[in-house]
Each structure stands twice: as C-alpha cells, then as structure tokens.
Amino acid sequence: MQNEHLKPKKEKIPRTKISEQPAKERIKNFNEVELGYTEEEALRESMRCLMCKKPKCTEGCPVGIDIKSFIAFIKEKQFEKALEKIREKNALPGICGRVCPQEDQCEKTCILGLKDEPVAIGKLERFAADYEKNKKSSKNQVNAKNEFIDCDGNNIISKEKINKDINTSLNNKAKVAVIGAGPAGLTCSGELAKMGYDVTLFEALHSAGGVLVYGIPEFRLPKEIVNQEIEYVKSLGVEIKLNTIIGKTFTIDELFENGYKSVFISTGAGLPYFLGIPGENLNGVYSANEYLTRVNLMKAYLFPEWDTPIKKADIVSVIGGGNVALDSARTALRLGAKKVYIIYRRSEAEMPGRIEEIKHAKEEGVKMVFLTNPVEIIGENGWVKKIKCIKMQLGEPDETGRRRPIPVINSEHEIDTDIIVIAIGQGPNPVLTQTSPDIKLNKKGNIIADSVGKTSKKGVFAGGDIVTGAATVILAMGAGKVAAKAIDEYIKTGVW
C-alpha cells in the first residue's frame, strides 16, 4: 500500500524552484538569500523522487544519509521523522542542506538527473531541519527555554534529562578531547557523546562553529542555524571550552596527563595563503580569512554598534575562484561597494565555487574577470590603488584535471581598485602541530592520518581540513564521524 502511495506521478514535475530575496534587495542586507521551501513546495519536490530500488544518491553522500527514506517521510508529511532519518547519519542537517555542494554529491548521482534535473535533495534536507526549528521556536514561546523537542518532535524533555539519560545508560566512559569546534570537531564530539563518552571540545576562538561562524557569511548560512546545531551537540553532553588554544594554553601531552584517553584534532585550514607578489602588504589588501572573519565572526558590518571595523570602498577586487572568493565578493557588495570584481586565472568552467553561488554572485552584479592573474599590487601613500594583471590562456590539463593557465606574453594591464581580497586558499595552521613534533605531517603541513583518522602519535586521531587541506563541510563531518568510531574502538580495545 505504501508502495502505491510512493509511486511517482506520471506527469513530469519540474524541479521546484526555491524562492529567494531579489538580487537588488538582497545586496542591501546580510539576510539569507534563499528563503527555503514552504510545506507545499517540499511536498511537491518530494513527489519527484523516483524511490529507486537501488538509490544512487546515498552513494554520493559522504556521510551516507538514507536519502530515499527521508524523502519518503516528507512525502508522507512526517517531517520530524524525515529529520530523524537524516540525523541518524548527520548531526548538522540545517547546515549541510545549505552549504553542501549537492551538485557534486547526492544530486550528481540522482537517477532522475540522468534525463531531467535531479531531485533538490539539499533543499529538502534544509526544509526538514528548518521545520523543526520553526516548530521549536513557536513552542519555545510557551515553554521554558531549557526544554527540547527530541527527534520525533512530540516529547518535550529537558536538557538535564537528556544528559541524565546518556550518563546513566553509558557511564564509566572515558574522557576524550576534541580540538577545534568546526564541522569535523562538532560531528566527532556529538558521535562520541552519543556513545556515552565524556567529551571536551576545545575551541581557540570565542565562538564555536569554526568556518561556519568565521568564514561562511550570514546571507548563506545564518548564524542562528549554526548556534542551534551547536546547542544540539551540547545537549548531547559535550562540554565546549572556548578561548582555549591547544598548542598554547595546553599541549596534547598535557591533555593525556589530565586523563584524556584519546584526542581528535580537527583544527581545519586556518592559515591564509597570499600570492607572494609585490605590494601585498599595502593597506587595503586583506586575506579572505581576515575580511570574512571581521564581517562574520566580529560583525564588522554592524560597526560602530559592534566594535570591529572593516574598510568599505567603491571598488573591491577579489582574487580566486572558489566559494571563499564568491563569499568575499558578495560580502563586499553588501558593505556598499559599487564595483566588485572576481579575478580568476582560469575560466568559468574551472571555477571551484558552487554553481549556485556563481549564479547568485552574477545576479548580484559581481563582475567576473576570467583568465587573468595578478602580478603586482600598486599603491599610493601606503594604500592600494591598482592591481597589475596578466592575461592567461588555458593549456593542457594539470594534475587536478583542470586546464592549466599559461600567461600570455605582453598582456599586462592595470585595474583600478580600492580594496583587494585574496582568496586563493588556506593551509593548515601550525600552532598546534609545532608543539607536537611526534605527529607526522606532509610537505604542506597537513597531518598524515589513515582512513579512520589515526595519526603517527598513539591515541591521537585527526580529520577534516587539517588532514585533507581545505575541502567541504560534509567531508569534514564524514571524517569526524569515522574517527569517532575508531576512537571508540581504540579506547575499548587499547589496540593502536
């Protein structure tokens, strides 16, 4: 009977568009660009799912979410059950629904996508997460703040009770330290806490969330969503210690001395790369990390109500073609820039940024300057004035499979600009690894870890960008999850 109900309708339903703030409006504010599906839209989109006997979408998901089943629950209007299904594999659905590159993952392998557009899996995931949030916030108006709705959405239980349940059923569990409260660290902590471990999550900054709070802008990922997911992880019993830098405040060896049985390192890709060209230290040249951290974490867009300033100017040039470059460019527009360039050395086809975000950036008026590479930054009285660039052409594919850009001789030209944001990638921050020389690193400074996160130091696991180099939120989460299992195994057996 259920199968009957789940059969796709015969007429072809086009992929349900998500409503958005109009481009002209949204560049004047930092509010979220995409507004999310309504219940009707989510139902309609869920009807498009073919309910494949052998679904390919789950294979495309780095954490293996049972996508078919959660969509089936949406079809049946059992939205909380849908969320519960997602949460079996993914503790941060509100975040992943928004920032995962679904076009390269689940939606890429969606069978419907072979002939038609794939099911909007990410939008549906977001819908399920937001549905709970909205329901919770309306209930919270009548209930005490420390009350939670558990995954089936019916029982309202207190935070204390959740903690008690975990602790009583799985006591005598060891202490585990997790370093870095970004996607990998939050996931690993959550998983370990669910197994009953006494987890301390150490964070260097004054807020948990890692790149989700300092890097990804409010208009793409509202911080309210991030906070909500962090609260969920806390509700599982994880203690988050902010303002604590492992490598400075404590070393890893001190953590072991203090009774931690295992350590998971998820310190991310926090070291900004610069171009290494003349003029890079002129006033007005930012790393994307600084530009975005000032705006997102420190709320410089609300200066002077908030204390951290940021330079606003008419012309902003962003160097790079990834999501960080797109985020920086769109942030510059919202800070009031009249002209914003993205200067990228390859062509649009090679841009590593998400297609959806490239589209958004273009709609908002970001000018794309392709096949162009900066060679010098020219200043006046200590401030940026122009950026000297050279034209590029594409040659043979390189080791990344993308066509290698080659400079065109005698093609130097200058672009007037007031601010430059360099978004050409981030490397591993060495603060932690410098104080733990027994953890082996590769040439780039990333930690060498095996498939479950084991490093060269006994009891120490690592995952996320600190191992892979800058990648995606979901891959980091996947690594956190795999490592949690391995940590459990290691603590139980003592075998390294």
Binding site: A204, H206, I245, F250, L271, N281, N289, E290, T293, E305
Partner: protein, 288 residues
C-alpha cells in the same frame, strides 16, 4: 574563589594608564616573558591583543596594563575590581629569547614599559647585567619604576619635558650611553626595545651603527591572534611574517618600520568614529 577573568585589583598607574590584576590561572601558569593575550570586553567587543605585563603562578593572576586611547581601551578602563572581562585567550606568540647574553639594555617607552618588566625579570634571573632605560612624555606618564628598578643593575629615566630624569627622548639618552660605554670599553651585547613604533625605529637606527643586536616587540593590528587572518603581517628581512605567531619579537634591524606604522593607521577614521560615539554616550550617562 574568584571567577574566571575577574578583575582582582585595578590601579590608575599614571596619566591614562590603567593596570589590572586579573584572575586567569591557566594563562598565569603558562605565561612566559614576551607573550600576549587577546581579550574581548563584551559581546560586541573587538579582539584586542595585550602583552602580559606580569604573572603570578601561585595566585593565578596576570597583569594587563593599558593606555586609554580608543573606544575599547576607554571602555576597559571603566571596568572595576570585581567585574570580569568576557574573553581572555592565551598565552599567545613566541616567548622572548632569554639567555645569558651579558650586558643588556632594555628600553621601555610609554605604556611599552609594562611588557619590559617580565623580560627584565627573566634576564636578571639568567644573570645578565641589566641596564633599564624608561621613557615617558612626562613624569605623570611613568609606570613600573620601582618594580623594574628592583631587577636592574643600572636604571635610568627619560622624560620628553624634563620633569624627571634625563630631559629628552630615550634615543638621545641611548646615544649618550653608547658613546660613554664605547670610551669605557664596556660592551653592550644586546638591546631590547618596546614602545611606540617610532621609538623602536629610532632605537634600531642607532644600534645598527653600533652593531648591537636589537630585539623589538611589534604591536600591529590583530584579529584572532592565532595566525588565522594575516592582519598582523609585518616585513622582516624582506619576508612577510605574522606578528601573532612568528613574533611578536623580531630582530629590529630587519623590520620594515615604515610598513608597520602605515598599517597601524589603517582604521584611524573608524577608530575616531567609535571613540567619538563612545564619548558622546558616556557624556550623556554622566549628565543623567
């Protein structure tokens, strides 16, 4: 028991200079001379790097000594004993290089005197012959005289207006001192200078002529203080360094001070806006 980050003692040390003893046991345990913390006063506050001026492992206390200048330092100076600072993280940066160098001149200018204190103490513990030279605009701007004197083999004060000690800049006194020691064949093995960028620049120009290795502690604008943003980049020997993780102390003869000074002025306009707004609000409250 005290609360984390609670102010246990607040003193007005000199004109516009306020000193706080803060309960921060973990940082007090770890802090070494030359290191700094990043603080955030409240939820909307900026992250401010401040050098640790003293620390007491037993009591779990660190000392931060600040000059009231912009909005944040003015707001900080209004906090009183018993109140707490929202966030303090550290200790950050590399500690000072402390060895038995021999004869060491330590120069502190203005509020920069405060961070020389733990360095002078540490140098003395390594049996260096410590010559301390403190400089201020005027007598009412001098701090830490007694503390530093206690650990110094020679102790000098300079004031721009001559209200105490030598009349003139520390750089002028330094030239005099180095000339004297040259005639006396008294070798200076190292100079450490902490203070306004211009002071450090001048000191380095002088010591370069005398070929004395000189260490300076740089104070560029920072955000996170952990090497994440690159706001604090400085050029040392033609290479870009992050002061927060590679420093804050560098070989002064290799530092591009003009770049440092230029970068220190990036947010002049914004700092004025914030200070003006703060002063207006503050005035209003006083009138009520």
């Amino acid at each position: 028991m005290y609360a984390q980050n609670q102010i246990l003692n607040k003193r007005d040390l000199a004109k516009d200079i306020v000193s706080f003893d803060i309960f921060s046991p973990v940082i007090a345990q770890k802090a070494k001379a030359g290191q700094f913390v990043v603080i955030r006063i409240d939820n909307k506050g900026e992250r401010i790097p401040l050098t640790i001026a003293d620390s007491d492992k037993e009591k779990g206390v660190i000392n931060l000594t600040i000059l009231k200048r912009g909005k944040s330092t003015n707001l900080l100076s209004q906090l009183n004993t018993g109140q707490s600072i929202m966030d303090i993280v550290g200790p950050l940066g590399r500690p000072s290089e402390i060895e038995n160098f021999g004869n060491v001149i330590v120069i502190g200018g203005g509020v920069g005197i405060a961070p020389t204190y733990p360095i002078i103490k540490a140098l003395k513990l390594k049996d260096n012959y410590v010559i301390s030279i403190l400089g201020a605009k005027s007598k009412d701007g001098l701090i830490f005289e007694n503390e530093i004197k206690a650990y110094s083999d020679e102790f000098y004060i300079c004031s721009d207006d001559g209200t105490c000690g030598f009349k003139g800049f520390v750089s002028e006194f330094l030239i005099k001192y180095l000339n004297d020691s040259k005639t006396k064949n008294f070798k200076i093995n190292r100079v450490i200078a902490i203070g306004p960028a211009l002071m450090m620049k001048t000191v380095c120009e002088i010591t370069k002529n005398y070929e004395i290795k000189t260490i300076v502690s740089l104070n560029p604008i920072m955000v996170d203080g952990t090497g994440m943003c690159g706001s604090c980049r400085v050029e040392v020997g033609g290479n870009t360094k992050f002061a927060c993780v590679d420093g804050p102390e560098f070989d002064g003869h290799l530092v591009d001070f003009n770049l440092l000074i230029s970068r220190l002025n990036i947010y002049c306009q914004e700092e004025n806006i914030a200070l003006k707004k703060f002063m207006e609000n503050h005035k209003c409250k006083m009138n009520i």
